[in-house]
């Protein structure tokens, strides 16, 4: 059989597979799943923490590292219960993120709504972009 000679086809295949792997959002990350967003005056970190209450989670910011730590309670099964499916995670969790810009520590705020934790880290004035006016 005659086929087109494509010397790079296997290289491209490898590259495409690697790209697909790296872009795949289903790759598992340590709990909780976290997204971070960068804007001119703050960094926003959003973590999915279903079933975690305000009292069972703590947020720590130290030396440029943000740590989210807490406990997710499990269902209290009794001896008479028959468990059909047990997929939900539970137990203690801890996750740290390095924040690479200077943060105004005293102005960090956090909210917890419907199991979504949103932490806003305002950037320090010295790293914010400045507009320079021409004299």
């Amino acid at each position: 059989m005659v086929c087109t000679y494509r010397p790079l086809s296997s290289v491209n295949f490898l590259r495409n597979s690697l790209d697909a792997l790296l872009n795949d959002s289903s790759i598992r990350h340590a709990y909780p799943l976290v997204n971070a967003y960068d804007s001119t005056d703050s960094i926003t970190v959003i973590a999915k923490v279903p079933g975690v209450t305000k009292d069972s989670v703590s947020i720590l910011f130290e030396n440029g590292t943000l740590t989210i730590k807490g406990t997710k309670n499990k269902v209290n099964f009794t001896d008479n219960d028959k468990i059909l499916l047990n997929e939900r995670t539970n137990g203690n969790f801890e996750k740290s993120l390095t924040i690479p810009v200077k943060i105004n520590d005293s102005a960090i705020s956090a909210t917890l709504v419907n199991g979504v934790l949103t932490i806003v880290l305002p950037k320090s004035d010295e790293v914010k972009p400045k507009t320079i006016t021409i004299n």
Partner: protein
């Protein structure tokens, strides 16, 4: 602690992304209880249906706001969908649901005639 299950599958043929939420399901002596992790879903964003074949389906839309310019992306926003076959032993008219901190709990009572009962021996 094991990894999160929230995003094992994602249906992309629809307009929005659908994720399969992690669930715990168990039966007590008189109820079937399903506990489903749905972070980001508010009370108004969830629909629970039981169709004529006793298939219970749960759909929820994540409603929280995200800023622009993501620098770290471990999850994407979308909808949750999960369906379970209930069988005939449960009272489909009496399902109760509560949503607390992004966790949906459904309680479905056993039909009265299916409940365990004690039979007294007549003297």
């Amino acid at each position: 602690m094991s990894n999160d299950n929230n995003q094992t599958t994602c249906e992309t043929t629809q307009n929005e992304k659908y994720f399969t939420p992690a669930a715990d399901i168990y039966t007590t002596t008189d109820h079937l209880i399903a506990v489903i992790d749905m972070p980001g879903v508010g009370k108004g964003d969830v629909t629970i249906e039981i169709d004529e074949n006793n298939i219970l389906s749960v759909k929820g839309k994540q409603s929280f706001q995200t800023p622009d310019n993501p620098v770290l992306n471990e999850f994407s926003k979308g909808c949750y969908y999960r369906a379970f076959s209930l069988g005939d032993s449960y009272n489909r008219e009496a399902v109760s649901a509560s949503l607390d901190n992004g966790v949906l709990e459904l309680r479905i009572p056993l039909l009265e005639e299916q409940k365990p009962r004690k039979i007294e021996i007549a003297v």
